[in-house]
Amino acid sequence: MRTAKMKAVVAALGVLVATHASAAETTASCDRELGAKVFELCSTCHSLKPGDAAREGPNLRGVLGRAAASSDAQYRYSPVLQASGWTWDEATLDRFLANPRRALPGTTMTFIGLKLANERQAVICHLRGAR
């Protein structure tokens, strides 16, 4: 009985360690340099500088964690984005950035998308850094 408990504790610890290692790995693979480089594709339409007005798209500073279509009260978001109910977390950003018009038909964002997962992750990392 005691051995069984010990095994369970060891297994749980194992899971904990693995999860922690995975999180550490994600942080380690956060390629800020690549993120900044890839974000140049976005920057003709989006600024990350504090106080910058919307361009074709809204200012994306602090976008991670926010409800979609909520960061700029002056900006005219598309109805489909307003109705999406999305929160801009890593999963929704990853999905949207892969192919915006496929992820959200009717979006007014004309960006073609990022096919490579590492580029999307790098951009998300870059956005996270701009808080």
Binding site: E40, L41, S43, T44, C45, S47, R55, E56, G57, R76, S78, P79, V80, N99, R101, R102, P105, G106, T107, T108, T110, F111, I112
Partner: protein, 354 residues
């Protein structure tokens, strides 16, 4: 009197001979990119271009027959109207683009005045697209003459790229070029970010179709001789095929009650849908026994019996309330001005306004 009779025909003959001589020695009226041909391009551009367009037939066809390498094209709606804005030019067309269809959201930066002129030096019809200042506030500005008078071009965007239109067989084709240059693509510096972008665009306009290819590349300063990375448009270089919309009025001609209302003999049939787009427009049809049915009007290149043949056809379908089951359907040539389908005791008819 007699002498006058003989003099007049001689004068007429001389005039006719002179005219013949001029005709024979002058260049042919439609010589390649000659002045008369360019006048013809301008005339056809002004006649063909204005109107409403939708990619819906392309999207539907790709969904049923297979998409290009880059995937299905997006549903897009474009509207162009010739406008009277003498402060901007003599021949000007205003255009807007909506994402997702006629009721979709306006795409920011896509409210454009197209100023059309003949460039006799380059032997093209120049179309210079310029964004307007104020954007959304001027949505469908053509409806408001007072607002039109106030329209200004946005100095922050464009002005250095022109579409050069020429006739190519049955269509007019415009390729984007730097103003004052002869490069095929157009290069500009973003005033937002200072980045250099290149736009490669190619439009084709016919009497019923507008094909748009519009790719934007961001120059990598480390590789200035390369075109840069595609950020807007399509990798497979295919065109958005926009089809002209015609608006139909659709009625029920039921001998009995239809659309939930009884109709007295001789009274006008109830209108079920007014200004229904023939590019996938839908309207509700409620029969006494089956409420909430839908009807769809569709003009598109539709498959025939042969997989290799598509024909321009107009169809009218009556759909079950779930929208999936077709209860009745009929098909006419694409250019038909009216179409009707019968179901039970009801006849649905859609026709163009006379």
């Amino acid at each position: 009197m007699k002498s006058r009779m003989t003099v007049v025909p001689v004068k007429q003959l001389s005039a006719a001979l002179a005219l013949l001589l001029v005709t024979l020695t002058a260049p042919a009226a439609h010589a390649t990119n000659s002045g008369p041909e360019l006048q013809g391009v301008l005339r056809d551009l002004l006649a063909w271009w204005p109107g409403e367009y939708d990619t819906q037939p392309q999207v539907q066809l790709e969904r049923s027959l297979g998409a290009p390498p880059d995937g299905e094209h997006d549903r897009q709606y474009r509207e162009f109207t010739r406008v009277d804005v003498p402060h901007l030019g003599q021949n000007v067309i205003y255009g807007e683009v909506r994402s997702g269809g006629p009721d979709g959201a306006l795409i920011k930066g896509q409210q454009v005045m197209y100023i059309i002129t003949i460039d006799s030096v380059r032997q093209v019809v120049n179309v210079t697209g310029r964004r307007i200042k104020g954007g959304p506030e001027f949505e469908r500005v053509y409806r408001d003459p007072e607002k039109l008078r106030r329209v200004e071009l946005d100095p922050a965007y464009g002005g250095n790229c022109d579409f050069r239109f020429r006739r190519y067989g049955p269509v007019l084709r415009g390729v984007l070029a730097n103003s004052g240059g002869d490069n095929r693509a157009c290069t500009m510096v973003s005033r937002n970010s200072g980045q250099t972008m290149t736009w490669d665009a190619d439009w084709m306009i016919g009497p019923d179709e507008l094909w748009v290819f519009d790719n934007g590349y961001l120059l990598d300063p480390a590789r200035p001789t390369q075109p840069g990375r595609l950020f807007s448009g399509r990798e497979d270089m295919t065109h958005e095929r926009l089809y002209r919309i015609r608006r139909f009025s659709c009625r029920s001609e039921a001998p009995g009650p239809a659309a939930g209302t009884a109709r007295a003999a001789g009274s006008a049939a109830p209108v079920l849908g007014d200004r229904v787009s023939d590019r996938g427009g839908e309207f509700v049809v409620s029969l006494p026994t089956q409420p909430g049915l839908r009807a769809r009007l569709q003009r598109a290149p539709l498959p025939t019996g042969s997989p290799a043949v598509l024909e321009d056809a107009l169809s009218l379908e009556l759909l079950a309330a779930d929208g999936a089951r077709v209860l009745a359907a009929t098909r006419e040539p694409g250019t038909a001005r009216s179409i009707a389908v019968d179901f039970q005791q009801t006849r649905l008819r859609c026709e163009l306004p006379r």
